[in-house]
Amino acid sequence: MRPIADGLFTDETPPRLIGGKDRESGRIVFPCPPGERFAPHPLGRTGKVWSFTIQRFRPKSPPYHGPEAFVPYSIAYVELPGEVIVEARLAHIANEDVRVGMAVEFIQIPLDPDAADPVLIPAFKPLGVAA
């Protein structure tokens, strides 16, 4: 499976998210913006859920490319200590079990597992839970 976009993930196994580090201030953002100001900066793999919600209706297409058959899913802002808070899906956890503060680790998941050519998007799963 291919990434949903170039420049989001490192090539290592397991992969990491690639943020951007401001060459002057050291501020870290995600994703890494184009241009010279930010240098690509691989982000830490583990963090804590800073906030979350459950998406309970199918987002409009365009721009959404997810499956036609909609199943509610969790999204979270995950704090990566000392770096930045990133927005991503949560996986391998029931929606009703998500809590602020829970420890999570980075994974990739397919946006639409049944697509002919599925793409991978950023996600986090509870720390220590098998993918």
């Binding site: 979350f52 919600t53 987002p59 999204i75 927005e87 602020v100 503060g101």
Partner: protein, 381 residues
């Protein structure tokens, strides 16, 4: 310096009006405001108009009369109305003009606003993966706020309950039926913790305000409703805004906090001096956060305020007396001016069934929108 006064107000009902364009709803509001002020269109020396999706406001001169008037269009997201008003105030304060118009209208398609990544300088994948959803952001924002300050889902429900109680008493509101707290809390979730009654919907409507110098207002024999402050601000570092793939760990201020502080400084009064307030409530939690961001209470005190009904019509600080965005819906260009319209009604004592008690003398409005803009006004009589 002498004050700028609001001498005429007009509104076209919010909600859905099939067969009437957004612009024509604005024209209806302008004609109502002219009648209210006792003026004719040729008396108006300048205009600022706000619309997000219903066309260029200046084209309404074709309906109102080709008087050659200066008419400037304002496009500033949810702050469009507030920005039009702030600009109109400055035009009179500068001494250039004596009497002018701030008008806002809009007409949005049904359903949630449909945003595209390119409009927000974001990569395409962010939209493809399903993040270009305003309700999702607002839900994540309030989840964090509730976690930090101990605000409960019941408090969210109480805000919506109050909105529909007040909306039932406002002729211009869209939702005119009270909804029981249990029904609000038990309704289907849109994006947790928000149920379907806790979000406003994109809508239609128009509002017009006629402003004049104090001298002109006195000449016309109008009661003096003074625009003591009109401030528009953009976000400071570290704020948490819609469509953010990442945010800083070090949290910062908000556009609302700095717009509010600027307005209170202009008016020379503080939050404790305000008698009635209209605060942006595109979702129930927004009203809760904005109570604190505008300085009316501390973070976390809202739970008690709402339990004690302090923001109801008969409370110590009535908030969103016409039901706000939750009951009126949100036509972006008109929404901020609706708040000012409602405050003029309240200061005139003309609120009828929704008139707040205690003969209010000061009134406050606040709008907030993407990506971190805010406008605040303070009226005094």
């Amino acid at each position: 310096m002498s004050d700028v006064c609001i001498i005429g107000i007009g509104i076209h009902k919010f909600g859905r009006t099939d067969g009437v364009s957004g612009l024509d709803q604005g024209v209806v509001a302008v004609r109502a405001a002219l009648a209210d002020a006792g003026l004719e269109w040729p008396d108006i020396q300048f205009a600022y108009g706000g619309s997000d999706s219903a066309g260029n406001p200046d084209t309404m001169v074709e309906r109102l009369g080709l008087t050659g008037i200066q008419f400037i269009n304002v496009r500033n997201g949810c702050a469009a109305g507030g920005s039009a008003l702030a600009s109109a105030q400055m035009a009179i304060k500068s001494g250039e003009y004596e009497v002018g118009l701030a008008v806002g209208f809009d007409k949005h398609p049904r359903g949630a606003f449909n945003a595209l990544p390119s409009e927000y300088n974001l990569p395409e994948w962010y939209g493809e993966a399903g993040y270009m959803v305003t309700t999702q952001f607002f839900a994540a924002k309030i989840t964090r706020y509730m976690h930090e300050y101990g605000v409960t889902p019941t408090a969210l429900g109480r805000v919506a309950e109050k909105a529909f109680i007040n909306g039932a008493k406002a002729d211009h509101a869209w939702r005119r039926e009270p909804v029981a707290l249990e029904e609000i809390l038990g309704a289907p979730l849109v994006s947790d913790p928000y149920t379907k009654f806790m979000f406003c919907s994109p809508a239609e409507g128009g509002v017009a305000l006629i402003l004049a110098s104090e001298k002109k207002a006195r000449e016309l024999g109008k009661p003096l409703i003074r625009l003591k402050a009109a401030a528009m601000r953009t976000r400071p570092p570290g704020s948490f805004e819609v469509f953010a793939p990442s945010i800083d760990i070090a949290r910062g201020g908000t556009a609302t906090r700095i717009a509010s502080a600027a307005a209170f400084a202009q008016a020379g009064i503080g939050p404790e001096d305000i008698d009635v307030a209209q605060l942006q409530d595109t979702e129930a939690g927004a009203e809760i956060m904005h109570m604190a961001e505008n300085g009316f209470c501390k973070d976390g005190e809202q739970e008690q305020w709402l339990a004690e009904r302090r923001t109801h019509l008969d409370g110590t600080l009535p908030v969103n007396t016409d039901g706000g965005c939750l009951a009126c819906g949100e036509p972006i260009g008109a929404s901020g001016l609706r708040q000012v319209y409602e405050n003029v009604v309240q200061l005139r004592g003309a609120g009828g069934a929704r008139q707040v008690a205690g003969n209010p003398k000061t009134a406050y409005t606040h709008v907030y929108g993407a990506p971190g803009v805010s406008a605040v006004t303070i009226l005094e009589r």
